[in-house]
Each structure stands twice: as C-alpha cells, then as structure tokens.
C-alpha cells in the first residue's frame, strides 16, 4: 500500500482533509491539478460572514486550519451583526488571495505524513465495494486504504461566457474530464450544477470618489482561538460600496439574449444558487428595483485586481465592458478578467452517509462542492470531517458525526445527506433550529473536546479549554454568591439601573438588559479573561432563550437516539406511503429523528416505522 489516505483535489476541502488525516497519523497523498492553485480562492476574496464565520470557528475548535490561515492573510476584518444578539454575530474578513494559498501551501509542506502530487485523477480503484486507490490520467495507479474526493467545480467543468462554452476549470485551468463519468459507471447519480463569478478590474482605473468607503472594525479580531492578530488595525484595506445605474439595467435588458443563461446557450443544465444570482437575474427578477448594491473588494496587496461583488454575469465580453463602464466611478475601468459562469458535475448528496463516506463504496469519502455545496467555509468544514472520518475508519473507530444542536457543520451535513439539494447549498442562520446554541463565542466549548479526543487538539490547548470551563463555573458561582444590598443603591443608580429594596445577586442584576458585566468586574474576587466574562454574560443575559433552545434540542435528541438498523427493509413495510418509502430507501436514515426530517416522510410513516422496528428487531 503506497498511501493510507488519498485526497483528490487541493481546494479548501482538500487541504483540510489532507491536513486532518496526516495530523491524525496517516500517510496521506494530496493530488492536485496544479500546485499553484492549492487553497485557491477563485471567487470572492473573503472568508467568513453570517453563519460561515461561525463555521470557521468550529473548524478551528476541532483542530482545522482555515481560521489560522485566514488570520495570517486577512487585510480587513469585521464582526457582523455586532449590534444584535450573540447567536448571529460572526466574523468576516477580506483575505489576500496570494497570501492565503501561499500560507496554506507552507503548512501542507511542513506537515509530516503528507505528500503533494501534481496531476489529474481519472478513476477510482474499487474491489468488493471498497475503494483501493486511484487511477491518474496517465493510467498510473496509486493504491490506498481510503480516498477522499474534493474535486470542487473541476469535474466536467465548462466555462460559459455569452454564447461560448469551453471545457475549462476556474481561471481556464485544466478540468477533470473523466472522473465524473467513471463515478457514474461506479453507480453514482451525478448532478449538474452552476455558479458564477464577476469581472475583476484594475485597481487604479477606478474613481473611488464616487463610491462609499467601508472600513474594518477598530478592535482586533481573530478567527482562531489560538492565534494573536497578525494585522495592523490601523492599516486595513477598505472596500467600497456602489450601485448599478439606469444605464446598467438598460444595457442588461437590451443584451439579455446574449447571456448564456438567457438564450445564448441552449444546453445549460446546471442549476445555479438562489443566493448567488447573476446581475442579469437580479435585474430581471427584481424589475421594480431601481438599483442594486455592489461592493468593490481588493483581492490582494500584491496585485491589481478589484472584485465587483454582486456583479457576476455570463454576458459576452463586449457587453461586460459596457456594463462595467456604466457603473459610477468605473467609467474608465479596465477589466483584468471577464466574468463567467461555470457548470460542473457533483454527486447527489443523499448518496452519502453522515460521516461523508459514500453509501455505495466503502472507504470512499467526498467533501466540498462535489457534494453540492457552495462557499469556501462550507467546503473546508466538510473536508475536515471527511479527513477525520476516513482516519477514524482506518483506526477502527466510530465516525465523528456532529449533531444539529452541536455545530453548524452538523446542520450542513445533515441537511445535505437527509434533504439533498436543489441548488448549490449555502449555510444560513435560518437553517439552524438551535442557532442560539451554535454561537461564534462558544465554538471551542462545543467542539474542542472532540478535537482533543480524535487527536487534532493537543494536551496544552485542551488544558486551556479546561481552565476556561473552570473559570466560567467559578465566575457563575461568584456572581450568584455576591450581592448588592439596598445600602449600595447609589452604585445601582450610577450604572443606570433600578434601585433595589432587598438584596440582589450580581447574577440576577446581570439579567437586566442595561447592566453590563464590565460594571461588576471590580466587585469580583478573581480576575477573569475577557473570553470568560463575555461567555458568562451571554449565558446569563440570554438564559431564558438558551434554556428554551436546550429543551427543544433535548426533544430532538430523544428521536435522534432511536436508531434505525442499516439493514432495515422498507419494502417489507406495506403500509408506508409510497413517497415516504421511496425517500426512506434513498436516504436510509440512521435514526427516527433523521427520518422525520426527510421531506415527504410524515409522522404517520414514522409510527409505522416504529412498529416495524419493534416487531422485527425487538430492541428498545
């Protein structure tokens, strides 16, 4: 056996998968079409954002790399929704597109057990329904115990610009021409998807006086729980906000039939993401909107590209020129790279188990855009989980499956394998039922323990977590014990809150919306880190809401703990509704909880399922 684990693809999923498996002690090979494109960011130059920023923290808590790597390469950072509740705050950073891949490659190269190979993969080797390795396009075979597919948008990729269709990957890279056809031969259902990217403009050809400047926060942030800030708070790169004009809309309307998606190509099958519409989609679908918001985002300190967020299109180049020049401040802009749409093949995700192993072939895993998601963060977290689970499999251990009340990562994977997808999947806060539990601030408390158990978090970091937990406990008991008595009403007045007739504990005082924990620090017996103070304040202030979420999560857990055996025969359950039977056979849920989340399976079907399980398996 040449390698224990082979990772096919070097994007955000591939890097996390390869690092996890190498760090967990397995001899790992990462195969990429082009070493220069390791951890490439072919679309927006940013990491994080609502929900996604929380995922980056979760990756970090489990021992993944994305957070640390983003910290090393960010050029602007903000806390989103800082004025709102704790559950929806998330970091978003502008990241330097040259530094991010460079730093990631450095990390990969310095990781033990990890080899990088340039080349394209055309097939997987399978024997007895178990993967045995890969076949390169030059027919060379490389054997392994497990394979993780992270092919991104490269399988049968076509770049679409106006009436042009070219077989190319992002930036005109070589696509993977054989792999998806071969996966289909192995029995996988392949789904065609589509996404797009906007034009890039020469930095100095833009008149910024017509745009509104948007700066980063003036307090330091890091994605990682471990890193100190690398950047200078006073020296962050700005973004700029502009709007489309009447002229832009006129040009789009006049040229609509030249867009690949509006008739210039008649063979577009890929389904594009709802949350990432092209500018022509926006203008057509929201016809009554006078203008659309666009952001000018710097791609790097080391080259000239400005990314026009919100302006992705599949118009031909000459129309793109006109469209760009119709934007305020971009009248004389020079286009460096034209926008394009890209069509690619993915594996329909209900063919995966919650561990991200395929149901069809043992020890074969897949992660990232190949599973029908979109976004660097969504890809990275799947890569991490696939890497962890492939390693655990080789170690003969149970897979790491995060539950919906434990992590956005759990929500994402459960959604994918249970509900499938219609269009490329993006995480949104509304997808999480228990988002109050899945906060940016408590990702370490939720997940670090798992990272430690699987060996991605070392003893030292784990001890820091234990200290933090201890600190939280101590602070809470101090706050419950310490009281403010009526004799101190002056103090209450001073901090702007109602006076008391009887004594009140600091804990209860903190429940008042106007009382901040900072006001009470001097009264505490011990010193606490800001992280602990923040954590405890959130726990107390939102206690009612948090407890409600915990109660609901507990109810879910009861159903989640009712397992459905692998070999259950849905065809034998005559009374199931036919739609439910078909869906249950497709998804093969592992628990009653998961079964209930399948659309088309209703509570009556679950009742029938319960009775059959009881009858045929006689287990509690």
């Amino acid at each position: 056996m040449e390698y224990e684990i082979i990772v096919v693809g070097g994007g955000h999923a591939g890097c996390e998968a390869a690092l996890a498996s190498a760090r967990m002690g397995h001899k790992t090979l990462l195969v990429t079409g082009n070493i220069k494109n390791i951890a490439d960011m072919p679309c927006n130059p940013s990491i994080g954002g609502s929900a996604k920023g929380i995922v980056v923290r979760e990756i970090d808590a489990l021992g993944g790399e994305m957070g640390k790597n983003a910290d090393k390469s960010l050029i602007q950072i903000k806390m989103l929704n800082s004025g709102k509740g704790p559950a929806v705050q998330a970091l978003r950073a502008q990241v330097d597109k040259t530094v991010y891949p460079r730093e990631m490659l450095k990390t990969l190269k310095s990781t033990e057990n990890l080899t990088i190979l340039e080349g394209l993969v055309k097939d997987i080797l399978v024997r007895d329904s178990t993967v045995q390795g890969i076949v390169m396009e030059d027919d060379r075979e490389i054997s392994s115990l497990a394979v993780i597919l992270t092919t991104g948008t490269y399988m049968n990729a076509d770049i679409l610009i106006g009436s042009e269709r070219r077989r190319q990957g992002p930036h005109g890279e070589k696509p993977s021409n054989y792999l998806s056809d071969n996966l289909a031969k192995h029995g996988f259902e392949i789904k065609r998807l589509k996404t797009g990217t906007p034009p890039r403009i020469v930095k100095d050809s833009i008149d910024y006086s017509k745009a509104k400047r948007e700066d980063g926060d003036m307090i330091y942030h890091t994605f990682s729980f471990e890193t100190k800030p690398f950047y200078d708070i006073n020296n962050q790169e700005p973004c700029y906000l502009i709007y489309t004009t009447d002229l832009t809309h006129k040009i789009i309307h006049e040229n609509l039939n030249k867009s690949s998606m509006y008739g210039a190509l008649d063979d577009v099958k890929g389904i594009g993401p709802r949350y990432c519409p092209s500018i022509e989609d926006k203008v057509v679908r929201f016809a009554n909107k006078e203008k659309h918001q666009l952001f000018l985002e710097p791609e790097s300190l080391y080259y000239d590209d400005i990314y026009i967020q919100g302006f992705s299109t599949s118009m031909p180049r000459d129309v793109q020129e006109k469209m760009v020049h119709s934007l305020p401040g971009l009248e004389n802009a020079k286009i460096l790279k034209y926008a394009y749409a890209i069509e690619y093949d993915s594996i329909y995700p209900t063919q995966l188990k919650q561990s991200l192993e395929t149901k069809l072939i043992n020890n074969l895993y897949s992660a990232g855009q190949i599973n029908g998601t979109s976004g660097y963060e969504e890809a990275a977290c799947q890569g991490l989980i696939a890497g962890i689970n492939a390693s655990l499999r080789l170690q003969g251990k149970e897979p790491l499956i995060l539950k919906r009340d434990e992590a956005y990562i759990g929500v994402l994977i459960d959604d994918l394998v249970t509900k499938g997808i219609r269009d490329p999947y993006r995480l949104l806060t509304s997808r999480a039922e228990y988002r109050l539990l899945l906060r940016h601030d408590n990702a370490d408390l939720r997940l670090r323990e798992y990272g430690y158990k699987i060996g991605l978090i070392n003893e030292k970091k784990y001890n820091q977590l234990l200290l933090k937990k201890e600190g939280i406990k101590q602070l809470i008991s101090e706050l419950k014990e310490l009281k403010v008595v009526p004799a101190e009403n002056d103090f209450l007045k001073r901090i702007g809150t109602k006076e008391v007739k009887d004594g009140i504990s600091l804990y209860n005082l903190l429940k008042r919306p106007e009382v901040k924990i900072d006001f009470l620090i001097k009264r505490l017996k011990h010193d606490y880190s800001n992280a602990i103070l923040e954590q405890v304040m959130i726990m107390i202030k939102y206690e009612g809401y948090i407890n409600k979420a915990l109660r609901e999560a507990e109810k879910m857990l009861a159903l989640e703990n009712k397992k459905i055996p692998d070999d259950v025969n849905y065809d034998a359950m005559h009374n199931l509704a036919s739609e439910a039977r078909q869906k249950l056979k497709e998804v093969r849920p592992t628990s009653l909880g998961q079964a209930l989340r399948i659309s088309g399976v209703n509570p009556a079907d679950i009742s029938i399922l319960m009775i059959y399980l009881k009858r045929d398996y006689h287990h509690e």
């Binding site: 948007e214 509304s430 919306p513 029938i608 009881k614």
Partner: protein
Amino acid sequence: MNDTIAAISTAQGVGAISIIRVSGKEAIKIVSSIFSNSKFFNAPTHTIHYGYITFNNEKIDEVLVSLMRAPKTFTMEDVVEINAHGGITTTNKILELLLSAGCRLAEPGEFTKRAFLNGRIDLTEAEGIIDLINAKTDISREIALKQVNGKTSQMIKDLRSDLAAILANIEVNLNYPEYEDIEEMTTEKIKENMDILESKITKIINSSKNSELLKNGIKTVIIGRPNVGKSSLLNNLVGEEKAIVTEIQGTTRDSVEASLVIDNIILTLIDTAGIRRTSDVVESIGVEKSLKLINEADLVLFVLNYNEQITEEDKQIITKLEGKNYISIINKCDLPKKIDDSNIKNKIYVSAFKNINMDQIPLKIKEMFDLEQIETNDLSYLSSARSMAILKKVSLAIKEVRQGLSDGYSLDMIELDLKDIWNLLGEIIGENYEEELIDELFSRFCVGK
C-alpha cells in the same frame, strides 16, 4: 413517545358518561393542574378520586378520576381516566383544557400503539394498529384542512404569510448585513404585526366558539318581569311547524332542560321548567334569579311589554346585560305604546300572541353570532379542540414576543419566538414546509454576490 397524549375514549354524545383518557409521563401532573382534588397527585396507584375539573376557579364538571401509575396500565405508562358527565360541550371543554395544559391530542390508535411499543400487547393486535395508522396517513392532511373552515384557514394563511415576510426580512438582515438598501425590520413593525395577529386570533377563537354554539346549541335564557308574555313567546317559538322540543334528562349543573331548533339554530333553553309549568311560577322568577341566569347564558332573550313603563327592576337587568349577547324583545306591540325604549338596545317589536314580527328573532340571533358565515359541514370539534389549544399557545408566544421587545432584546432573539408562532399557525392548517422561509427570503430580497 415522550409526550403525554389525551383523547375522549367513549363515543361522542352517546351515553350519560364519557371518559377522557390521558397517558404519558406527565399525565398525573397535567390532570392535577385542572383537578380540584389536592390528594390526587400523590395518591396510590389504581384508585378513584372525586372532585371538579376547574378552569380559572370555575367548575367545569363534577367528575370521578381514576389514577393508574406505570407500569401496570394499558400503555405501561402513567394513565389517568376522567369520567365526566357526558354532554359533548363539557367533555370537549375538558379535553381542550388538557391540551392547553400540555397534552397532545392522541392520534387514532395511539394508545394501542404505545401499548405495543411498550411491550403490553402482542403482534396480532399490533397489525390492526398499523392499518389504523395507515388509514390515517391518507386522511391526515384532510383532517388538518377540515378542522378550520375555509375562511378561517385563509385567514391563518394570510397571517402566516405576513409573518413570513417579517421573518424573511429579519433573516436577510442577519445574513446580509452589508446590504444597505434592504430595510431593517423594526420593533414598531413587529408590534404592529402582533396587534393584528392578536386581534385576528381572537376573532378566530370567537368564531370557533360560535361554531361550537351552532353545533352544540346556544345556551339561552328568557327573562322579564311578570306579565310581559314570556310564556306566550316560548309557546310561539315552539309552535308546531318551526320547533321541536327535546326533553333532556336533567343534569343539575346548568338547568338545561329543553332544546329548541329554529331555522337550524339550536337554542338550549335554561330553566324553562318554570316557564313551562304554570304561568304563576313563571312570573315568580325574581330579579335575583334573573341576574344569575344572565351569567350562565350565551344568549338572553329579555322580554319587555310595549304597553308598560320600564321599572327599576328592568333597569337593573339592563345594566347587567351590558356586554352580553341579548335581544330585547318588546312584546305586545299590537297594543298602544307606553314604553319609553329610547335607551334600550338590540330591540325587536313583536307580538307573540298575534304572531307579528316573530321571524325577526332567529334572524337577529344569526346576525348576532355571525352564524351565516359558518358552514355547518366544516365542523369537527375534536380537531377544533386541538386548534384551540394551539391558538392559545400562539397567544402565549405573542406575549413572549411583547415581553422580549419590552426587555430590549434584539430582533434576532425576538425572531425565535416569531418562528414559533409561524410554526404553530402552520400546525393548525397542516402546512410545514421547511424550505419555505428560505424561498421567501430569496424571492423577496435581491441579495448575493
């Protein structure tokens, strides 16, 4: 399996006693919360207890309650059976109280299903249950749709869609905070929406009550001073062609003694015994008794004499009628007018004796209870007990939203309660499509890179 279920386990409306069965972990606790007997909660297993089912200190029914603690019960869970006095309205009211207190309405066959899953009964018996559940699969959606009439269901759909717009707005604010051209949802808008929601829900609850009235009869009392003609009014109303009088064996609780059907409306007459006996006894019903009867009734027929002045007694009654559903029937309108009725509301001039204008009475009743709008074939009280319980939960959730807003929580926190309301409303009309909100978000707002 972890929740507590309840259902009426005797045939509806048949027999003098009906049994409501409750099973599950919380069965004893929930029943205790509506049962007057304080010894019940800690009582030994397999015992029977006497007392009242009460709601807001009002006695709903005099009952015997059997308590059976797990595991020696039919379902092998804690089981409580409430033996009530029959009568559809009372039994349903008790069920409704149980549902509001935390029970879930049992699905068909669910007690037996639990008995099987908990190992109490064997396979052959279980096969039957599968059929039962299966039958339910096909009609469950139909039931969900039928439990509210078309108009109410549309109203709930509209409420839900207003709420979805707010939820989508909040979500888009959270997920795309960088979009300056998208309006921020405001506290004021949510408050406004909650006001509308609350008033519409009150309306739905009232109209459901009216459906109930239509089905189970409007508790009606005829009052008035001596000699105003109550007996002749009743005699006219029960006249050969229009009316059927049904004797119901007296239950002492509410003195219901006769049902009267006029134009498909059931009037359940209270204390008609007096009226129907001799006229002497009728006329002897004093003001005090009248006032008490007003309290018990859904509808008061207040009879006055066209040919007489209003007395102090009348005035006392008029004050008491404020806020009640009542019709002032000014009888003997064929005689010369002596009454000063300028301060009397809801009046109809009739002559029961000469049969003048009597057809106005049922029309007025229909108008008063909004009965024209209710389609009789939509009614299914069982499911309406369930929706009533859900609507009560909605009312509670609205309170939580208001509390949250006044405590100054941010809108993303408030949204959690709003989502609960949205889900509850969906439960009533049987709609629960998870992607709905996300669809809403992207169809309403133009966002994305």
